[in-house]
Amino acid sequence: MIDIAIEKRLKVYHGRQILKIDRRFADGSITKIYGPSGAGKTTFLKIIAGLISPEKGRITVDNTTWLDTNININLSPQKRKTGFVFQDYALFPNMTVIEHLAYATNHKDWITRLLILGKLDTLTNHKPVHLSGGQQQRLAILRALAIKPKLLLMDEPFSALDPEMKTELIQELKVVFKELNITVLIVSHNPAELDGLVDGELYISDFSL
């Protein structure tokens, strides 16, 4: 069980607004996060990963406290080790496909399986600059999965994939999510994109101050 209650002030173009979320996510659940641009969806994921600190809040994951501003607990991103798929992919320009995965894990069998899952097994020695947008996005997903995270945070993870590839990949990911019992939060703008994958939704609205 993941229990999150956070408050974070956001600076936006037209002034300030507050990101306030109080929500529980069951183990192994897959939740779609949606809402208007600038409402704080990406910030919410980064707060969970430990990349941004909120002014107030508490995050507990399976009875382990990751964040509690009342008692000054704030675990580093390294200790939280969430899988994170960044909106801009954040691929390492100096590394090939295989090096991305080897940087994340030493398990060769798992790397081989991921490469097949993402259909990148014939491109192992390619650097990101030589991959298409869809291939780069798949690599970003595989790298996040490489650490076998308990919690996977995905920021617009399927935006660059063609419909056929998206459907196929989502089916494959469902199997992996279930197998590893991963709790997944997915930010998406596309209303129908995650049909059949998610079992819950979270709407983040923009509360102006």
Partner: protein, 223 residues
């Protein structure tokens, strides 16, 4: 023909560049992350040698490390180290004088890398050091090489600051730029020409090499 000023200059430039690489990398990384008044002050201090006349810097270093006064006297009495009119004094002066050439390009390159690169590495459980070594440094190679070449070349050409703190002692502090000046003073234009030509050629080859390397590296997606 005494070539010792050339060797001394190359030795000084190599030691200074190596020391600045070791110190400059973490300093540039620290400066590239966030902003604070303290960081602004430190950055201004590091940048000062770019705008300060070298003789002014040399004069203050001469005062600070003179064995007759405060810090210089204490260093002499406690550690038996003398920075004035010695090779280590040249290294210290060059270190301070060339620091902006090492820190500046590396800091700018680190700032231009997307923040998400380091963040992605952290979420994979990697420490700051592992991220710095495996992700940040390999992706700023052209700027790193620029910093190294600029620092080396700039140290080769130092004159005012090394003359002030080191003087003109043969085989100890007489570097090539001082040897050129000294030769002209003695009307020995042939020696001055030889020293100048050697310095010109070394610097030219280094800068050409840098441009060729960086042109090739410009194919990197981050350039």
């Amino acid at each position: 023909m005494d070539l010792s000023p050339i060797w001394l200059t190359l030795k000084l430039a190599a030691i200074t560049t190596l020391l600045l690489l070791i110190v400059g990398l973490p300093v540039a990384w620290w400066l590239s992350k966030g902003r604070s008044f303290f960081k602004t002050i430190i950055e201004a201090v590091i940048t000062m040698p770019l705008v300060l006349p070298p003789s002014v810097l040399g004069f203050y270093l001469l005062l600070a490390f003179s064995p007759q006064h405060g810090l210089g006297k204490w260093l002499q009495n406690t550690f038996d180290i003398q920075f004035v009119f010695s090779f280590q004094g040249l290294v210290l002066a060059s270190f301070i004088y060339s620091m902006p050439f090492m820190v500046g390009p590396i800091k700018s390159a680190l700032q231009q890398l997307p923040a998400s690169l380091a963040q992605a590495s952290y979420t994979l459980g990697k420490t700051k050091w592992q991220t710095f070594k495996s992700i940040l440094i390999p992706n700023i190679k052209p700027s790193l090489l620029t910093a190294i070449v600029l620092t080396f070349a700039h140290t080769l050409g130092e004159f005012g600051v090394v003359l002030m703190i080191g003087g003109n002692i043969p085989r100890v502090t007489r570097v090539a730029s001082i040897a050129v000046y000294d030769s002209v003073e003695r009307m020995d234009y042939a020696a001055a020409n030889t020293y100048s030509l050697i310095l010109f050629c070394i610097t030219f080859v280094m800068v050409i090499g840098l441009f060729i390397f960086n042109k090739y590296q410009a194919k990197s997606p981050l350039e």
